[in-house]
Symmetry: C2
Subunit: 82 residues, 2 copies
């Protein structure tokens, strides 16, 4: 399954609890689109959040994020990794 | 050890071999700064590369990337992760 990295900006001040809740909201519905959110990282100071997923398409990733209430600002396929 | 996500833009057309070589160049010298580059992901089409590391500081991450020949455009601490 292809991997994607998506990016959310403007999340300044995000807490560990809020990141956890947002991730759980994705996990709760991700199967509807055959997406799996594997990991997420946040910088509360600059307000950037990165999410790594496996999914059939960038659009599928975005649909889950939108339904969970946090549309991504960017979704990049990352076909290469080390 | 704190985690960091750094971002390189303008890497359009990067190949799997080039990503591997760049990562190996970081690994070869990372101990000089107590940095460890854990994973990296690349999108050859948009030219963005994300690198996840553990390091004492963002400056240490950048010093290794600069010495390896590929200065990052952004280095973000990511104290929160799920």
């Amino acid at each position: 399954m292809p991997e994607f990295m998506d990016v959310h900006h403007n999340m300044k001040g995000i807490t560990a609890d809020q990141l956890h809740e947002a991730h759980q909201a994705d996990l709760a519905i991700e199967r509807d689109e055959q997406v799996h959110f594997k990991q997420a990282w946040a910088d509360p100071e600059s307000g950037v959040v990165y999410c790594l997923s496996e999914a059939p398409s960038a659009e599928a990733v975005q649909r889950i994020h939108e339904r969970a209430g946090h549309k991504a600002d960017e979704v990049h396929p990352v076909p290469l990794s080390v």
